[in-house]
């Protein structure tokens, strides 16, 4: 596999290969735009329907057609869904990368490749299956436009025979995929069957790998984080979205458009969710700020370059106290970077987004389930706090299909925060004899707002990014400025109490703690199991939001050694922790990956293992 890794070797894989049934990974190397996505999805769905815990991760290039692309599928009878960086099986369908793809296989691995390449067997420690891709499809009358895509069904059929996926599961997956369009389903299935039959008649099974039905996916769903986020927004009452296309965030908006039908105006059948494609990200957030100010639940979705462009408006929304929700489906930066690779590299920049003294509220979902949850909760939080709420997902969560529990319906009614309508305002006046936009009546830093259009002669106020007093009047007075900043700090402390708490797993006496967040969760969980097997028991704290809750600091203090696992280069969360932690934290080690690929259990496991061994070797003189 030519997406070279920074970690060396494949020993980890050999060690961990406990079982050859439902416990291995395979990789499909194809060309981008060749339609292999469909084949791979069919494989994943078939396995999912067989009840086998599965994940599929798409490693695609920033290109529309022709560049190499890889898809890794991992099955795990133990339910592990993290990425594995080495796979036992390579389905090498891209001649340009085949040499590397084959070279990367571990001893005893399996390669499936087209006969017609006449590749020759360049390694004798692996198992070779040459399959007739061209010949198989030649038997069928396929429109030339479809031929390339359909060709990818050949390996589906071969895989089904070799590793024992029942054809009826494949058929069901095909139907899902093509939403029941019989023509497409049949055409593809015919090829799959033909390939399956060819394999049965011509191949001799030599490898030990196979799939066997289980019941571990029952009641679960398979969904991408971006779809989940869109759905969360739909159930959170989104009424306005503006965006500018950018990978990997675009599919969030696509999904929002796709789910808009759930929110039609029952009378007119018209839409109640406006989705506007802006001319760039400055305009996108500008529209969202205007909409949020006017009283909409407004979101935008973007990725790194868009976050940079949104800086100025983010600062305005912060100081003018406008509720908006900003999704950053993080990809690899700086700059255009690797547009189709994942990262957690925007967290430090985003948490201080905008010049001047600003601190932003950030949510950190770990998977589609939390994308759904934060999808609706972010609006309540933004309205409650009257501030931008950033949700930092990433390409891995956003664009890959994840196995997930079905989403839970929101457990509380919509919360619009301290918003006064006409009647509310009248009552407010009756009670307090006054209402000023930025006065801290409740001492929590959050003031009461009105919306444009409120039919009350004293409802209006002036919104601005310049200095103002608590009446909303323009002011350049130092005391007004400082008073306002102090209230915003109070509000930020209120935010600290309101954002989702970290998830903590610990037991008394544990001395080693892992801190992580977001999509690293499966890798960390799996690594902990492996470490436990090696006699290293760990606590685990998963951060779910910024500002950091006091629990995080306490957790760090309570452990002798802390490993902060994150997927960026600089160890940005470690920096954020340090800012909040003047006390000694030299026992905090940053395990930062930042190679553009989803976190792996091996990275976590090996690094912690070796550091812990080093530690033991030093006889606790650390």
């Amino acid at each position: 596999m030519s997406i070279a890794e920074i970690q060396q070797g494949t020993e980890f894989l050999a060690e961990e290969r406990e079982s050859q049934v439902n416990d291995f990974a395979f990789m499909v190397a194809t060309k981008n735009g060749s339609g292999s996505q469909t084949s791979n999805s069919v494989l994943v769905r078939s396995l999912f329907h067989m009840g086998i815990p599965v994940n599929g991760k798409n490693l695609f290039p920033s290109n529309i057609k022709g560049l190499p692309t890889w898809y890794t599928i991992r099955v795990s009878s133990e339910g592990y869904i993290a990425r594995r960086d080495t796979t036992e099986i390579a389905i090498a369908m891209n001649e340009l990368t085949a040499a590397e793809d084959i070279a990367d296989l571990p001893e005893g691995g399996v390669v499936i490749l087209p006969q017609e390449w006449k590749w020759g067997r360049t390694r004798d420690d692996i198992i070779w299956y040459e399959i007739p891709v061209k010949e198989t499809i030649r038997q069928f009358k396929i429109p030339s436009a479809r031929r390339e895509q359909v060709g990818n069904m050949v390996y589906v059929g071969v895989v089904a025979w070799l590793f024992e996926i029942p054809l009826d599961q494949v058929h069901r997956a095909l139907s899902d995929q093509f939403r029941g369009k019989a023509g497409a389903v049949n055409m593809n299935f015919e090829i799959i069957e033909a390939a399956w039959e060819w394999a049965r008649d011509n191949l001799v099974k030599q490898d030990p790998y196979r799939f066997a039905p289980m019941n571990l996916t029952e009641g679960k769903i398979l969904i991408t984080g971006n779809e989940a986020a869109a759905l969360g927004a739909i159930f959170g009452g989104v009424t306005f979205a503006s965006w500018y296309p950018i990978t990997p965030s675009t599919s969030l908006i696509d999904a929002l458009l796709g789910y808009r039908h759930l929110r039609k105006d029952p009378e007119s059948e018209k839409d109640t969710v406006a989705v506007i494609q802006a001319e760039d990200e400055i305009a996108a957030i500008g529209m969202v700020v205007g909409a949020g100010w006017a009283g909409a639940r407004a979101l935008t979705s973007t990725s790194g370059p868009g976050i940079s462009l949104m800086s100025e408006f983010a600062g305005l929304a912060y100081i003018a106290e406008i509720p908006v929700v900003i999704w950053d489906i993080t990809r690899m930066g700086p700059s255009t970077g690797l547009p189709t690779r994942t990262s957690q590299g925007d967290i430090l920049f985003t948490s201080f987004l905008g010049h001047g003294d600003s601190q932003q509220v950030v949510l950190l979902p770990r998977d589609p389930d939390e994308c759904f949850e934060f999808g609706w909760k972010s609006f309540d939080l933004a309205d409650t706090l009257q501030t931008p709420v950033f949700v930092l997902s990433d390409l891995d969560i956003g664009m890959n299909n994840w196995m997930s529990e079905p989403f839970e319906y929101p457990d509380r009614p919509i919360n619009r925060g301290k918003t006064l309508d006409k009647i509310g305002l009248e009552e407010f006046f009756a009670e307090r004899g006054e209402w000023y936009r930025y006065r801290d009546y409740d001492k929590d830093g959050i003031a009461w707002r009105t919306l444009p259009g409120t039919d009350h002669p004293r409802a209006a106020y002036f919104t601005r990014g310049t200095g103002h007093n608590d009446k909303g009047e323009y002011s350049e007075r130092s005391d007004d400025w400082v008073e306002n900043m102090e209230r915003l700090r109070r509000k930020f402390e209120t935010a600290r109490t309101l954002v989702p708490a970290p998830e903590i797993e610990t037991s008394p006496g544990l001395r080693i703690g892992i801190v992580s967040y977001g999509s690293n969760d499966p890798a960390v969980q799996e690594a902990r199991d492996r470490l436990r097997a090696d006699g290293i028991d760990t606590s685990y704290l998963r951060i779910r939001a910024l500002p950091l809750k006091p629990e995080v600091i306490t957790f760090i203090e309570q452990h002798d050694r802390i490993y902060v696992v994150e997927n960026n280069f600089d160890g940005q969360m470690t920096s954020l922790i340090r800012i909040d932690m003047p006390q000694d934290n030299s026992h905090v080690k940053s395990l930062a990956l930042g190679d553009g690929l989803p976190m792996t259990p091996r990275f976590v496991y090996e690094n912690i293992l070796s550091m812990e061994q080093g530690h033991n070797a030093q006889e606790r003189t650390y």
Partner: protein, 348 residues
Amino acid sequence: MPRNARTNALGLSRNDYRGGKSTLCPGCGHDSISNQIIRIAYELGLEQHNVIKMSGIGCSSKTPAYFLGRAHAFNAIHGRMPSVVTGATTVNNELVAMGVSGDGDTGSIGLGQYKHLLRRNVPMVYIIENNGVYGLTKGQFSATADEGQFLRYYGDNDLPPIDLALEAIVSNCTFVGRSFSGDPGQVQALLKASIAHKGTAVLDIVSPCVTFNNAPDSTKSYPYGREHEIPLHDIDLLAPDFVEEREEIMIEDYEAGQIIDVPMHDGTVVRLKKTDRDYDPRQRVQAIQLLEEARMDNLLLTGLLYYEEPRMTLAESENLSDRPLTQLPDDMLRPPREALDNLMQSMM
């Protein structure tokens, strides 16, 4: 409505339409425009709680603080007012949006947003208080500054000016006016007409900066404006009951040298009376030609430069519910539990 009435139809006095005290330089053209807004809002009996005053940054952009004190206002960031209005008006289609910007705010940093707002036909009155200079940052050239103009620190301006009215026409804006803050009557007439227009109405108003750009040879100065303004027509606004009922809004044929009646969607009619030249603002290429002529000959042609039957507003082309999205009840904001359950089921 008679001008000397004490209160308007809403029972409000003209004072009720004022804002805070202006902090602009005495004599600044912008203050005069604020006054015309106060006047026409009073005369039209605008409901201030439905008005939103929007602006960017600049002396011009400060003015929303000085009129219609009972309207919500958003003084946003430099050059990006268009996107903010787009969001606000899309989620609440009952709001009357009045945007105030400067030539720097719109023509320099904001040009992209301006053009895209026009393309989307966001319903609003877009007032450009055009003084050819950056007032608030003390007198740099803006993108509408005259070619060849000289400023102390910055030397000669060798770049051709951007004509923001021409840009509007090219961007398919359906209502484009130009005026001069020294001609309050025309400013008022255009303001009233623009409020009646459905979609973006651009008013590019030469509004002299007395502090940094009022030399008589500047086309944005009072002396120049007073000497060179050529109104294309007299403008009257006729109330809805004045005209016969019509099923469909249509543009009458133009009779040379006479009167043009442009009916608005709210029933009012904009009546243009010929002055010196025959000019029908309903011809795109002719409007462009006129501006080309104005450019070559350095004329300050004012009036309704271009008008077209308005196309769909953004909210219309997005097929949005007629109710303001900001006022939907909770049960329209969250689908029922079954909707989610069904979806989940289908994904298993």
